[in-house]
Structure formats: structure tokens, C-alpha cells
Amino acid sequence: MIAVRGVHKWFGQLHVLRGVDLEVTKGEVLVIVGPSGSGKSTLLRCINLLIHPDEGDVLIEGVKVNSPKIKPEWVRQQVGMVFQSFNLFTHLTALQNVSLGLTKVKRMPGTEAEKLARYELERVGLADKADSYPAQLSGGQQQRVAIARALALNPKVMLFDEPTSALDPEFISEVLDVMVKLANEGMTMIVVTHEMGFAKGVADQVVFMDAGQILEAGTPAELFAAPKTERLRSFIGKILG
């Protein structure tokens, strides 16, 4: 469903992605792990074209999306994204955050958009927070609103960029619970995370990135139980403390 083929990205002199290949089938959960600066976030952003790859292709259901013929706005409607720092629109209520994309991108009438937005908030367990502003919500609640905002557009795939890294430990599980539920419902997901429990429990595939390349790929059991490279071994050692 999602294919990344030989993607390269330079930021000035810095070669951030050095030929990355990925394949994610429908309903699959792919977890990307790796040290900071290894290009994980850049790779995610290449998939919804927040960053344009300099070389290589990104395909969604066989369509090459990094092509001048394709509108990036269309691509972003197919791909939902959740950020490390939530990035909720601070001047809008939870409900308005979720419905903005529906009314402005999908051109849905206001009442219909509101109904759907309420339903999405209910899915992440925040029906009662619809009229709260982001600053009135905890980090975990904000991130769940952000997930609802992305889901509302009915994407084919969801990207998560370290969704729990900015959270206080007490709020991590409520966000992971929503993600697990989503995975069980059959959502295709690409998740950058350091939550090894989530990776072991939910991921169908794990890839280890370092210095802009994928060094290892496989099932969670293969990768975490029997790392082949020294890099991954030491990374796992650090993560698990």
C-alpha cells in the first residue's frame, strides 16, 4: 500500500536520507526505531510530502505521489499525521480542531462536520472535552485530540512521529491505548517511537534506522531478540537501560 523506493534527502550539505526503501501492506503496523538524527522524522515527512524527497519515489496504492502531476494537498488527505508536540491549533476548541479539515479541506457542511468531529472525539474517549481549548487539556488529551483530527479525514495510513515522547509518563498509556485500538481496527500505521512495549506488542514489522539508512528490518521478535548489527545491539541496550 505504501512504498518508499530509494529515497534521498539533503538539507544543504547534510545527507539526511541515504537511499531508504520501505514496503507497508494494508492493515500493517510498521515501527521505526533509531537514534535521534537518524532521519526517522524526515522519512515520515517524505511520505506526506511535508518534505519533498530529492531522489527516489513514494507510492501510495501504486500512485507515485512525489510527482508534479499530483497535488500535495490530495496526498495529505490520504495520510494522517500525529506529531511529537501535538501541534493542536491553540485558538480553536478540540471540536474545531477536528472539524477544521472537514469543512475547509473536504468542504463538508458545518453541521455534518460537527457531528463527525464529535464522533471522532468519542473514539479517542474525549467526547466531554469537545469545547475545551488545547491549553485546558493535559498532554495525553491533546495528543488524543490530534489523533482524532487526523482520523477525521479518513486517511488510508496514519503516521505517528514519536507521539508519546513529549508526554509525562502518566499520560503515555492513554495515548498508546488509542493507538493499539486503532491498529486492532486494521488501520495501516507507520510509527516512530521508542516505546518498545508497543513495538513488541503491536508491530508487524520493525525497521532500525541509523544515519539515514535502514540497517535492519524484520519482525519485532527477530529484531529485538537477535539484533545482527552492533549498532542495533547498543541502541537496544540504551533504550532498555
Partner: protein, 281 residues
């Protein structure tokens, strides 16, 4: 009566509270003028006699404010936006504008605009206009110059406002499929305004009083009326009446500034985000 967090006695409704504060300022100022009058410092009848002059001056000054604030804001918004642009030309032109107008004393700008307009139009053989006919137009150019001066300050306020909206906001807007213009309109602008409003209110309050400089090139505004009355009164040598003139002028400027700054504060309240007060961004 209710009490606030610190135990002070408050009127129960915020709106009533605000009206009471404004009325307090106005009545207090009027009472002071009246009280000084009862002491025999000046003759209050003087105000009644010259009422039309003050009224005309106030009217003219209101007109100046109604021109200077929109033009200044328009210029400030456009060039402030330009300052944040990555396009070299837009950025350079905006920066040059800000640095030039910010570095000029407003009085110099006002006089210069008048002089240059008069020189170009009246001395131009093709236009063959007489200096008397150019007067109104030259004053208009001075008004524009003052507006652009205010605009240069506002451009910096707008630039700071835009820069203080986190990049993640635009990124998130883009990620849900909004086009660039939509992201600016629905996500960046509303937040930028909320952050900029207090500083803009400050600049508006400041430029209201700067309109008095236009009297230097012959505008018949409140400042002109004050100066005119003062020069007539000075002949009689009555210092009390002279003081009264400037008290009245000051009072009218106070009223106008209050009107504008309180309006801005009303807008600020409309843009207020619960849980996110201006100080925290």
C-alpha cells in the same frame, strides 16, 4: 457587589466594571478642570465661548485618526508580512521601508512630505498649479507620511507576531491538507493577531497624539485650534485662560485615545483563548 481573588470589591458584571472605570477617568478629568475653575484660576465661561473652535478641531482630528490608523495598519501588515518573507526582493523592500520610516522623526516626515509635494506640484511647469491650490493635497501627503511612520512600527509588531506562532502550527495545518493560503487564514493569522493586539493598541494610542504634528503644515485640527486660541489669549496675558485651553485640548485627546484603546481591548477579549493568556503566548 462581589469580591475578586484578592478580596477587592468588584461590580458584578465585567461590562459594568469597564464602563465604571472609563466613566471614572472621564469624570475625574472633568472634575479636576472644574475644581481648578472654582478656585478662580481661569474663567470657565471661556470654554463656552470657544466651544465651536474646539468642536471643529476635534472633528478634524477624528478625521485624521480615521485615515492614519487604517493606512498605518495596512502598511504595517503588508510590510510586516514582507519582513518574514523568504523572497529576497520582498524582504529587502520591507526592511528598507521599516528602517527608513522608523529612523525619521515624525515631524520631519510631515514637513518633508508637505515640502516635496508642494515643490513637485506647484513648481511643475506642466501642471501649472498655484501654491494655494496645492495646500490640501500637500497636507494629505503629510498625513500619508505620518501613517507610513506608524506603519513602520506596526510592521515590526506584525513580524514579531508572525514569528511567535510556532512553525508546528503551519506544519499541522499543511498535514491535514490545507493549502498555504488556508493555513495562513485559518491557523496563523488568528494566532498572530491575538499575540500582536496589545502592542498594536499601544501604537494606535501613540499615533493619535502624533496627528497633532500635522498642524505644523496647516491642518486645522485640535492642536491648531489650541495654538490659535492660545495666541489670541496670550495677547490678554491671562495665564489661567491659557492653561484652560491646553487642559481642554488634553482632555479631548484623552477621550479619543480612551475610545480607541478600549475598543482594542474589547477586540483583545474576543480573541482571548481560555487557558492561554497573552503572557504565556
Amino acid at each position: 457587589m462581589t469580591n475578586d481573588k484578592r478580596g477587592r470589591i468588584m461590580l458584578p458584571w465585567p461590562a459594568a466594571r469597564r464602563i465604571a472605570v472609563n466613566a471614572g477617568i472621564v469624570i475625574g478629568a472633568l472634575a479636576t478642570v472644574y475644581f481648578l475653575g472654582t478656585l478662580g484660576l481661569y474663567n470657565l465661561g471661556f470654554v463656552a465661548k470657544n466651544f465651536p473652535a474646539f468642536l471643529h478641531g476635534a472633528e478634524y482630528t477624528l478625521g485624521l485618526i480615521a485615515i492614519v490608523i487604517p493606512i498605518g495598519f495596512g502598511a504595517g501588515f503588508a510590510f510586516g508580512w514582507g519582513r518574514t518573507s523568504h523572497r529576497w526582493l520582498l524582504h529587502s523592500v520591507s526592511t528598507a521601508y521599516v528602517e527608513f520610516f522608523r529612523s525619521m522623526p515624525p515631524l520631519v516626515l510631515v514637513v518633508f512630505a508637505w515640502l516635496i509635494t508642494t515643490l513637485v506640484v506647484a513648481k511643475n511647469p506642466f501642471l501649472s498649479a498655484r501654491i494655494e491650490d496645492v495646500g490640501g493635497f500637500a497636507i494629505s501627503m503629510s498625513v500619508v507620511a505620518l501613517s507610513l511612520h506608524s506603519g513602520s512600527y506596526q510592521a515590526e509588531i506584525i513580524r514579531a507576531g508572525i514569528n511567535s506562532v510556532p512553525a508546528g502550527q503551519h506544519e499541522a495545518a499543511t498535514a491535514i491538507g490545507l493549502r498555504r493560503g488556508q493555513s495562513v487564514r485559518y491557523v496563523v493569522l488568528p494566532q498572530m493577531f491575538r499575540i500582536s493586539l496589545p502592542a498594536l493598541g499601544n501604537e494606535f494610542a501613540s499615533v493619535i497624539k502624533d496627528t497633532s504634528l500635522i498642524s505644523a503644515v496647516g491642518a486645522v485640527d485640535l492642536m491648531f485650534q489650541g495654538t490659535n486660541l492660545a495666541s489670541l489669549t496670550a495677547v490678554s496675558g491671562h495665564l489661567g485662560d491659557l492653561t484652560l485651553i491646553w487642559l481642554i485640548v488634553a482632555f479631548i485627546y484623552l477621550l479619543m485615545t480612551l475610545l480607541v484603546s478600549r475598543t482594542l481591548q474589547g477586540i483583545e477579549r474576543r480573541y482571548r483563548v481560555p487557558g492561554l493568556e497573552a503572557a504565556q503566548l
